[in-house]
């Protein structure tokens, strides 16, 4: 089941795929029967095409699980995406980054983003929760940013504190969200961009993918 799913998703356009044991992460009774997460990462800009690719990857995973008689909950990269659905009320119960770190696909960097050793912070994630008995990959336990402080030093809003995430302390404050938001809002009339992204671009991990 593991290999088959992974192969199918990679072949269908996913850049990274990992399986996580999320038994201890799921607290909500409505989804407590789903103790595995499939984390699917795609290295593209998060635009319509990427969302479509994500949708088809989730559909692929879901249909494989369904065919084999397993339950699933498929969570898209962006919650408020598109038309409102009933199932969307369950999306906020689980976060992509817990799935991705637990599946060993990366750690949460100083910039608060998931950092994959190969692609850096340039992945977007879908998650499919399931009760299929998948063999979990080993989680990443702590921040592997090392001595690097590039994002902390270059953040134009001064929003990145410089703290280090670890799986034992997952809610440590990394980014002062207010500062980030206010900076982006103030810059919008100046440069016409709704996003900043400097903390993504400056990250040395996965730099080679920038031109892609």
């Amino acid at each position: 089941m593991n290999d088959f799913l992974r192969e199918a998703l990679l072949k269908a356009g996913a850049d990274v795929v990992g399986f996580a044991d999320i038994e201890r992460e799921i607290l909500d009774p409505e989804i407590s029967h789903l103790n595995r997460a499939i984390s699917i990462g795609v290295c593209r800009k998060l635009n319509e095409d990427t969302l479509r690719l994500h949708a088809s990857l989730r559909k692929k995973a879901s249909s494989i699980l369904k065919t084999n008689g397993y339950r699933y909950l498929s969570i898209p990269p962006v919650h408020e995406n598109g038309k409102r659905k009933f199932i969307a009320s369950l999306y906020p119960l689980f976060t992509h980054r817990i799935a991705a770190t637990s599946a060993g696909l990366g750690w949460i960097g100083r910039n608060g983003l998931l950092i994959n050793p190969e692609y850096g912070p340039r992945l977007s994630f879908s998650t499919v929760l399931t009760d299929a008995p998948l063999i979990p990959d080993s989680p990443v336990e702590q921040c592997l940013c090392g001595e690097c402080l590039l994002c902390v030093e270059h953040c134009p809003a001064g929003a990145i504190i410089g703290n280090e995430w670890s799986r034992d302390n997952p809610y440590v404050e990394l980014v002062i969200q207010d500062r980030c938001e206010i900076y982006k809002k103030n810059m919008r009339p100046v440069n016409g961009r709704s996003n900043c992204g400097l903390c993504i671009n400056i990250c040395p991990y996965g730099r080679k993918w920038i031109s892609k």
Binding site: E30, I31, R71, K85, F86, S89, L90
Partner: protein, 230 residues
């Protein structure tokens, strides 16, 4: 017109699409129903809703959990979106208009949304106020829309007391308005004490109640048609 055989086939496809929570098939089957000249009401009630009845049973038997229930509801809506523009307004002699929402302080809206769906299916005009709705908004909206049914939902004991205020307020202005309350902490006892006309403890029961309501609507509709025929 279409053959009985073809009709059965399409109805089964609609039903199975809902049970199998398959939105794509639900859309496909709804389109087939229209192409084959099936009556949209027939397709909705004897196809989609029929499937949802089975889903209710599966949920009750704990074969389906909340995620499946919600995905089934999404599949039903996928088909409904296509069929609804073709529905001839039901002439039931009752005005189908309902105000619905989750009361102030409460953001749990799964049960509310499922009840709402069944009203949508039944062809009611649904005024969905959403979740965490200020109590006065229910009263205002009822008066503004002159709805004869108000549905209140609360998931927590702390927020459910707000429902009593809304009931009092609405009944004082218009005693004929029917009020349904729902949510985990609510009981038949509380419903009676507070002067509500109906109650439902959770999404499952809300679904069953809503289905009962639609079944009786179906009956009314059949009777109305029989009368017209004779």
């Amino acid at each position: 017109m279409t053959t009985e055989e073809k009709r059965e086939e399409i109805l089964k496809k609609l039903r199975d699409a809902v049970i199998q929570y398959d939105e794509d098939v639900a859309k496909e089957a709804a389109q087939e129903a229209l192409d084959a000249g099936l009556d949209a009401n027939d397709a909705i009630f004897n196809g989609l809703v029929n499937g949802m009845e089975e889903v209710g049973r599966l949920f009750e038997a704990q074969e389906y959990f909340v995620p499946e229930l919600l995905m089934c509801a999404d599949a039903l809506y996928a088909g409904l979106d296509i069929l609804k523009p073709h529905v001839k307004k039901l002439d039931l002699g009752i005005k189908g208009s309902v105000v619905i929402g989750t009361v102030e302080g409460d953001v749990h809206d799964i049960g509310k949304n499922i009840v709402k769906m069944m009203f949508d299916v039944a062809g009611f005009d649904v005024y969905d106020l959403g979740k965490d709705v200020p109590l006065d908004r229910f009263v205002e909206e009822q008066m503004k829309t002159d709805s004869d049914l108000v549905c209140l939902s609360a998931m927590m004991t702390t927020t459910m007391v707000g429902m009593k205020k809304v009931i009092d307020s609405i009944k004082a202005r218009n005693p004929n308005v029917k009020i349904m309350i729902g949510g985990a902490p609510v009981s038949q006892d509380i419903a009676e004490k507070w002067g509500a006309d109906g109650y439902s403890p959770d999404a499952n029961n809300a679904l069953k109640d809503a289905i009962n309501m639609i079944s009786s609507l179906k009956k009314l509709k059949e009777e109305a048609e029989e009368k017209k025929g004779s």
